[in-house]
Amino acid sequence: MSGNEFILEMKNISKNFPGVKALDDVSLRVRPGSVHALMGENGAGKSTLMKCLFGIYQADGGEIILDGKPVSFANTKQALDAGISMIQQELLPVPQRSVMENFWLGRFPVKNYGLVRLVDHKKMYADTKAVFDDLKMDISPNTKVINLSVSKIQSMEIAQAVSYHSKVIIMDEPTSSLTENEVAHLFTIIRKLRSEGVSIIYISHKIEEILEISDEVTIMRDGKHIGTYPDKELTTELIINRMVGRTLTNRFPPRENKPGEVFLKVENYTSTVERSFKDVSFEVRRGEIFGIGGLVGAQRSELVESLFGLRGVKSGTISINGKTAVITNPIQAKKYRIALLTEERRTTGIFPVLSVLDNTLIANLDHYVRKSRLLDRKRGDKDAKDSIEKLRVKTPSAATHIENLSGGNQQKVIVARWLLTEPDILILDEPTRGIDVGAKYEIYSIIADLAKSGKTIIMISSEMPELIGMSDRIMVMCEGRVTGILDGKKATQEQIITLATQFM
């Protein structure tokens, strides 16, 4: 160890994505043997910053100094070798293979047998066991990863980070799916690592946890560094204030929609999945924009996907316009004139290799079948073109593959797709995610117009200004349950955060 004051310094880091400034002159300095919390709203740039550090992204500007030496990583392997690890739960390497094989993936110990080099399973087992024993983790190196609990997998990944002799370990929302006991165990491990001189960068929304475990806290907002504070100076109010602290300007179009009579009524909706949403009830009116807020993992997407028939429900009822509706698949949902814009545009939204035109028409082909059973392409093409023109989709031509469009324009095409089905209820799951600011405003205008025309709109958003700026009412969820329904005009970000973290 050198005698530097900081083990890691990230200086003036900038990162641009097409149309978005994700990181703007952000600095982060981490002391050796400390837990440094990184906080901010969804979209504040925490993950992007960490990905720049870990070699997943390359920063456009700024420098990274690790242990006194400037570094830059072209890939994660280089970062790992230099002593930086990142614990990400969704990045399970190979679930069907054993713990130790995952542990040493990319750096298997080998033994020379004359000309051949074979993997040294004995050494692999012994080394894995040694690391686990040292950290007092009870995991068998031979178990298949797929059979481990979430918490065990996380422990395994922390142990893996230790085995790389990491100086800095990044933990991105490590407790999001842990029980209380598991969190306590995780904190024991973190404290042990800290006492051995390892630095932890700890990303979390959970303020209580931050106050408990961290030594220093850096707060980010809108891709900018807001400040770094010693743990002692901080209180819950202060953190929320710094995280939110922004005034709303003209980021949203004026809304002239007038909510009418109750159109959709959901009662006691409960998922078939144990840890998902429970006992959710709400009503949405005609011409109303009904926002759903909450943190990642609040089961909001799961809820609306169930309303659309993509996921199962154990109990609960829906009624639409006073009549009970039974929806077990999207085909039925469409019959009830419900449309769903999913959260994951790439995986469940676009058909990348198909044209903009075909992407627009796909949900509404039934409408264009002639008596001869052939499609009326002329009418379909015209409607599709009108629709993408109305939404001002920027595309070289209607025949362009949708994968060549920007995120915002892809999103507009999917909106156009659903508008062609003439829905009464439009469910939008993070409609502006990954879209640049200008396109956001256009999407907002579209939503406002639809509400004005009497459509019932449900909008999930993790961006609080968006929720407050667009919604007539806001339902907040935490860990699968509804924690409150607020009036959109009076709701504050503080109220929403408080409700969104009620059970944490």
């Binding site: 949902a333 469409k334 290799v353 499609l375 031509s397």
Partner: protein, 348 residues
């Protein structure tokens, strides 16, 4: 999309548009290049007789490749194609043997109107298609495995069908003239102005398949399912129904191809259709069908089949040994696809 603006002459012939044209039509250019090259080295290749012969052989192959192609576009595959062709061939052949033929498989079979045996052959394909579709769509068995199973079953079934004591597993021959006319005869005003029936049938099938892919809901849904299965589900596409339909259509086409194959060759054995599925997949892929799904056209499949058969015929005409033919064909398959895939892998 039609380009409504008419570009000026200079624009039409600049380097970029030529490059674009050749990248878009690489496969057609390969076909033309092959024909010109083989014809240049051995002019007998370009004789009308030889070219018509290539088209005749291509007819059966095209029908199989279309059936397979639609399935490939859904990101599926169909290994049972070849053996289903064989099964249909033996079934139809056994029902159209001449009454006076000595070793008939059904000695007491009455003279059947032609449509009945044909229907039986097509029905055999239909049944295999239904099984494939059901296993893939409802039991969710990966298409490769599901159709591997039916491939083996179809081979067993056709052998069982042929192998009847005391006659044993002999080739089925002595087919009726009205039946073999389907494969060898022509339709037209007179002898000089006539088109071989089999080519006409293939053309009709090609046209229908083109209509299906481009003009119907089924076609659009096939592309959507292959392009992004999850998005198709979210969009309310009835994935199961569409998948079954495309496998059933495939089966029907293999059945028809089997009928035409028996008609063209005037008989059938239980080895008919062996490896045809791989040729069909190769031809479709050469023609630009993506095995990742979502991409492919009827025209491309036609081009792929023609390349394949021009090559088959050309190598023989050029006097290349059978073993070298295989090596060359393998190289052509891989290089044609490597060339074609440039269209899609530019960025990333």
């Amino acid at each position: 999309m039609k380009n409504t603006e008419s570009p000026g002459l200079s624009e039409r012939f600049n380097a970029r548009s030529i490059r674009e044209f050749s990248s878009k039509n690489a496969i057609v250019l390969v076909l033309i290049g092959l024909v010109v090259f083989i014809g240049f080295v051995q002019s007998s290749f370009l004789s009308l007789d030889n070219l018509v012969n290539i088209l005749r052989i291509s007819s059966v192959r095209l029908i199989i490749a279309l059936g397979c192609g639609g399935i490939l576009i859904t990101a599926g595959t169909d290994l049972s194609a070849g053996r289903t062709v064989g099964l249909a061939a033996v079934i139809v052949a056994s029902l159209v043997q001449r009454p006076d033929y000595a070793s008939k498989i059904f000695p007491s079979l009455p003279y059947l109107p032609l449509f009945l045996p044909i229907l039986a052959g097509v029905a055999a394909g239909l049944i295999v298609g239904i099984i494939n579709g059901f296993v893939v769509a409802f039991l969710k068995v990966p298409p490769f495995i599901a159709t591997l199973g039916t491939m083996v079953i179809a081979q067993g079934a056709s052998s069982l069908y042929v192998d009847r004591p005391p006659r044993g597993a002999q080739p089925i021959g002595g087919l009726r003239g009205d039946f073999t006319d389907l494969g060898t005869g022509s339709l037209g005003f007179n002898d000089t102005w006539a088109i071989p029936t089999i080519i006409l049938i293939a053309f009709v099938i090609f046209f229908l398949y083109w209509v299906m892919l481009n003009k119907t809901r089924l076609g659009k849904n096939i592309y959507a399912i292959g392009g992004n299965l999850n998005a198709a589900v979210v969009s309310g596409v009835n994935v199961k129904k569409n998948l079954i339909t495309v496998y059933v259509l495939g089966g029907i086409l293999y059945g028809l191809a089997g009928v035409l194959l028996a008609a063209r060759s005037g008989g059938a054995t239980n080895n008919y259709g062996q490896m045809y599925e791989l040729d069909a997949i190769a031809a479709a892929v050469i023609g630009g069908v993506s095995t990742n799904g979502g991409i492919g056209t009827a025209g491309g499949i036609l081009t792929g089949v023609l390349i394949f058969e021009v090559l088959n015929n050309g190598l023989v005409v050029l006097g290349v040994s059978a073993y070298w033919q295989m090596v060359v064909k393998g190289i052509i398959i891989v290089s044609a696809v490597a060339l074609d895939i440039r269209k899609y892998t530019k960025k990333r």
